[in-house]
C-alpha cells in the first residue's frame, strides 16, 4: 500500500473520525461558529465557552464530514480545551503550517507529537481544506463571538 495513504489514514486518525471526542452541542457556549467546505458541502459547528480570563473553558463540535475533517476537529477540541485564546491561535498557526508542508517551528514538544499524525495531509493538497476547516471555524468563532453563528 502507498506510504502516503497509510500515513494519511493511520489508525489514530480513523479512530478519531469514528469516535470523535467532544462531539455534540454546547448549550452554554459563549462563542459559536459554523464552517463549510465548498469542496464537498461538508459542514462543522464549533461551540466554545471562553471565561473572563480568556481561557477556553469548554469546546465541542458537531458536523458530518470525511475522516480527515472529523479527525482534525476531534483532535483540535481535545488539544484546545483548557488553553487560553492566544495559545489556541498559536497552536492553529503551527498546525496550518504543518498541513501545508511548511515549516512549523513553533510547534514543539507534546503538541508537535500529537498533531504530527495529521502531517500526512500535506501530501494531499486537495485535502488540506478538510484538515483545516475546524480550525478556521474555531478562529472565526473566537473573533465574531455569537455572530459567527449564522455565517
Amino acid at each position: 500500500m502507498d506510504d502516503s495513504l497509510r500515513e494519511l489514514y493511520q489508525e489514530v486518525i480513523l479512530d478519531h473520525s469514528r469516535h470523535p471526542r467532544h462531539f455534540g452541542p454546547l448549550e452554554a457556549a459563549t462563542h459559536e461558529g459554523e464552517g463549510h467546505n465548498p469542496l464537498c458541502g461538508d459542514r462543522v459547528k464549533i461551540y466554545l465557552v471562553v471565561d473572563d480570563a480568556g481561557r477556553i473553558a469548554d469546546i465541542k463540535f458537531e458536523g458530518k464530514g470525511c475522516a480527515i475533517s472529523q479527525a482534525s476537529a476531534s483532535l483540535m477540541t481535545d488539544m484546545i480545551a483548557g488553553r487560553t485564546v492566544a495559545e489556541a491561535e498559536k497552536l492553529m498557526d503551527g498546525f496550518l503550517h504543518m498541513v501545508k508542508g511548511e515549516d512549523a517551528m513553533d510547534l514543539v514538544g507534546d503538541d508537535r507529537e500529537r498533531l504530527d499524525i495529521m502531517a500526512g495531509v500535506s501530501a494531499f493538497p486537495m485535502r488540506v481544506k478538510c484538515a483545516t476547516l475546524a480550525w478556521h471555524t474555531m478562529k472565526s468563532a473566537l473573533e465574531h463571538g455569537m455572530a459567527a453563528k449564522t455565517t
Binding site: D2, G41, I68, M126
Partner: protein, 414 residues
Amino acid sequence: MMAQTKLRAVDSFVPPRGDFEILSREIYGKPLVYLDSAASAQKPRQVLQAMTAFAESEYANVHRGVHYLSATATERYEGAREAVRRFLNAAQTDEIVFTKGGTEAINLVAASFLAPLIQPGDEIVLTVMEHHSNIVPWHFLRERQGAVLKWVDVRDDGSLDIEAFDAAIGPKTKLVAVAHMSNVLGTVAPLKEIVTRAHAKGVPVLADGCQGAVHETADVQDLDIDFYAITGHKLYGPTGIGALYGKRAHLKTMRPFNGGGEMIREVTQDLVTYADPPARFEAGTPPIIESVGLAAAIDYMAGFDRAAVKAHEASLLAAAREAVRPLNWLRVVGDAPGKGAILSFETEGMHAHDVATILDREGVAVRAGHHCAQPLMERFGTASTTRASFALYNTHADVEALVAALHKARKILG
C-alpha cells in the same frame, strides 16, 4: 457475473484510446483510469490539432473585417455554428447562439427571455435533480423578481414521474427547466413528453443538455423544445464555449444579454439599437478558436456510430452496476431505467472524499462531493456521493480497476 459477461459480449465498439494522449499517462505510477468525464471529457488530438492549425494559419477576429484572414476566420466561426445546428438538428443556423458554456446559455434564457416576463408569484417548474447551473439562475428571479420555484421530485430510483410534472405546471408557470440527463443519477428525462404536456398549457421548456447532448440524441425539432443548452468541454471539445439553441420566434423577441461589440445595429450617445439574433446575444469577441474546436469535436463524434457508443457506455455501466451489487456497504443512488452511464453511490462509514482519495492513488479518477446538485443530495439524505462516469474512451478494464480500488478503500477505511 453471468450478466456482465453477456453484456460484454454484445459490446463490439472499440474505444479510440489512441486519440486521447492523456489516457496513456500514469498517476502515481498507475495507469490513469479516467472516470470523471461527466465533470469534463478529455479532448482527442483531432480537436486540439484543429485548434492549433487554425490559430497557426487562419486566425483573425471575426465579422466586420474585410481582409482575407478575417474572412477565413468568420467562415470557420459561422461554419461551427452550422455544425452545432446540424448536431442538434435545428431548423436554422441563426437559432444557435454561442456562449462561454452551458451555464451561460441557461443564464441567457433567464436574463433575456424570462426576466422580462416574470411578475411576482409567477412560477418556474424544475426538478430536484438539476445541476446548480439550472437552479441558481431561477433563484435569481426568485430573489430579484418574486418568482416561485416549483420542484418536481424524482422517485427513489431516480426516475422522473411525468404525472408529477404535469401536476406542477399550472396557470402561473412561465417556464419548465429540466436536465435532459442528470449529472448525478444518469436519469434521462422524458423530454418529448414533458414538452407536449407543457406546450398543451402554453408553457415553454428549456432543457439543460450539458450531459444529454453527449450521451443521448438531441433533435430539437423532433422534441419541439424551446431552448436547449450545451457545453463544449463535455462533448470532447474545448473549454470556454457552449451554445444555446433557441426557437427563432423566441430569440427574435428577446432582449440582449451582454452589451458590447457585434451585438448592436447602431450606437449613438443617446441611444442604441440591437442586431438580430444570434448576433444580439454575442457581445464582444466570441470564442473563435474554441468554435473551431467545438466543430472538430462534433465532427469527431459524428465519426462514430452513436448507437454503438451508447451501447458501449451502457455495457460499462451495467458491468459496474453488477459488480457493486453484492457490496452491502455500498448504496447506488440512481437506478432509473434507461439511465445514462453515470454511477453515483454512497459508501457506509466511508466518506466520498476519502474513497476518492484512495481511488486516486490507484490511478482511478472519480468525483466526490455534491456534484453541484445540493437539492438532489438533500433529496437522498446525504451531503455527497462518489461518482464514476463513463465516456466513449472507457473500457471494461477501467470498470475492473474501479471495482478493485473500491475494495481497497474498504480495506483501508472500512
